[in-house]
């Protein structure tokens, strides 16, 4: 049983599920901690507070060519069909 819980707690999908529920306020921190461990729960807590933060004050960018000539590009197959 313990092995089952440890395996599940390590699985990415399970962690993703806990993260989503925690961000959506359907789980409290203590429960999240029991489900995914202290380290991961601490990350989720930091990220949830990051999401709740007001926007950072960022200056406007300049429209200049930063690449010292042309930028390199490659054709990718996997962008359009995702």
């Amino acid at each position: 049983m313990r092995e089952y819980i440890e395996d599940t707690a390590d699985s990415e999908t399970f962690q993703e599920l806990v993260a989503t529920k925690y961000y959506d306020d359907q789980l409290d921190f203590e429960t999240a901690k029991q489900l995914v461990g202290a380290e991961t729960a601490q990350r989720l807590r930091l990220l949830r507070s990051d999401l709740a933060d007001e926007p950072l004050d960022i200056a406007a960018p300049d429209d200049v060519n930063i690449y010292d000539g042309d930028a390199t590009t490659v054709v990718t197959d996997d962008v359009d069909d995702r």
Binding site: P55, L56, D57, I58, I66, Y67, G69, T76, V79, R82
Partner: protein, 189 residues
């Protein structure tokens, strides 16, 4: 109270490569759509440790989009500064052991020494996130998707442009299944 400013940053290799992906993608038209690397390098003062440059050079040996992205970050070198954190008098002379990779460790030491506003990283999906947060002194940890989101929330690009950037970067950087990235996208709805 005014919002926290993000004017000076140290970036790690992962952030620079992620932000460089759209411009490196032949299919993504940055003549009409925003180039997030250009946004970063012209709106913030950016510093990186030499180890990040060395990691970028290693990436350029391949033939994929990460390689093209790394090549472009290196081509933009006039727009950021490279500083060795261990050459400063106010830091340790050798790399501390944080349990992180060398580029991240050096970036954090540099960020703390310069007292910058933010440390940019893609580590929001890994167990290192809390650790990076803990070892940063004044600088705040800024995950790359949050940076893109805040360009939109500052009015420098539209919400739809920011969404599109994050969606385009995602498949190349394993952001697809990240609940955090989904939440950032929902902030842009």
């Amino acid at each position: 109270m005014s919002r926290p400013r993000l004017r000076t940053v140290v970036a790690d290799t992962s952030t620079l490569v992620s932000l460089a992906v759209p411009r490196a993608d032949e299919a993504y038209d940055t003549t009409t759509a925003p180039d997030p690397l250009q946004y970063l390098l012209t709106a913030c003062e950016v510093a990186v440790p030499p180890e990040v440059i060395s990691e970028l050079r290693d990436l350029t040996q391949y033939q994929d989009i990460h390689s093209a992205a790394a090549t472009n970050v290196l081509a933009a070198q006039d727009y950021y500064t490279v500083e060795d954190p261990y050459a400063r008098s106010d830091t340790a002379e050798a790399r501390p052991t944080f349990g992180l990779d060398d580029g991240e460790t050096d970036g954090i030491v540099l960020a703390n020494a310069l007292g910058v506003d933010g440390f940019l990283t893609d580590e929001f999906g890994g167990t290192n996130f809390a650790l990076i947060h803990a070892v940063l002194q004044r600088p705040r940890i800024v995950p790359t998707p949050r940076l893109i989101c805040d360009y939109a929330r500052n009015g420098h690009m539209t919400h739809s442009e920011a969404r599109s950037l994050i969606t385009n970067i995602s498949p190349h950087r394993s952001w697809d299944n990240s609940p955090y990235v989904s939440q950032v996208l929902s902030l842009l709805d």
